[in-house]
């Protein structure tokens, strides 16, 4: 069984998968913000990337900088097989607990 991922970790990891070769800090932040439809602190994304890398679900490398970043290097991320496995497990778990229910749910029956 791979690592159990939280919802935010899934959002960040899926952003990396979607972005492919362009997955660096700010791009991941924008992608996660767009998918979750809310403002996210850059620090929250960086902390999650750090945690995922520590869990060996992703790996990073330094790329080159650009003038808009004052030449500062970008750190690019890519998922490791364990990361992909963790995403698949997370999706399977959600599918499993929803099996047999129609979505969206209708109002629950009253006990009265």
């Amino acid at each position: 069984m791979a690592d159990v991922l939280g919802a935010f970790e899934q959002a960040v990891l899926l952003a990396i998968v979607r972005l492919g070769d362009d997955a660096y800090g700010r791009a991941i932040l924008k992608e996660a913000q767009a998918r979750l439809d809310r403002d996210i602190a850059a620090g929250a994304v960086h902390a999650t990337l750090d945690r995922l890398e520590h869990k060996r679900l992703i790996v990073s490398r330094l790329g080159s900088g650009t003038p808009v970043r004052a030449g500062r290097a970008r750190r690019y991320y890519r998922p490791l097989p364990a990361g992909i496995r963790a995403l698949n497990d997370a999706r399977a778990a959600v599918d499993h607990i929803w099996r047999g229910l129609k979505w969206p749910l209708v109002k629950a029956r009253s006990f009265a």
Binding site: G25, R26, D50, V59, P67
Partner: protein, 211 residues
Amino acid sequence: MTDDPSTLPPRWAESLLRMMLRPADRESISGDLLEEYRQSIVPALGARADRWYVRQVGWYVLRATWPWAALAGGILVGRYLLDTLAPVQYTRGIRHPRSTIMSWALIATYALGGCWQAWRTARLSGGIVGAFVTTALGGALSSLGTVLCLAVWHDPQMWRAIQGSGGIEEALYGVPLMLVPVGVLVGTVGATFGRTAAAIYDVSKPNTKSA
């Protein structure tokens, strides 16, 4: 979108950010924030963009210091609770073991907080600033904890116990304020050790492993 190199966030905030980051993250994270600031935030928020930047930096500073600040705040609130719920007779000129234990626990927290921060940032200044934030935030948490305790326990007997152990003013702001210079001083000593250890083990090498 603005790529204008003269569009810069507050210099002090950027210095603070770089001070609190690990060497491996210093370029990439400060670059991400600068890119976001220039390309998205300044065009969207204009003059309020600096506030956004300062908020982001605050997040990194809090993240680096909150465990030590929470520990310091917890020690202070614990001492307050012990003194009010299980009061002891303090005698002038004689140190009670409770005072000694609490004092050393605080000193160890400030010293280790400064040491850890200087170690991970490989910067003495990072350790000193970390110690200052730890002390200030720990004091604020302690004041908040004291207020919460007062909200729960505030009968006349409790008030007498509080007055007998230094008074409410001392617990609310006297001790937290007094501890700021002490925490910074002790944290600086810890930071010196942390910085030395970082130099010996060379943690300043940026993480450049390839994917």
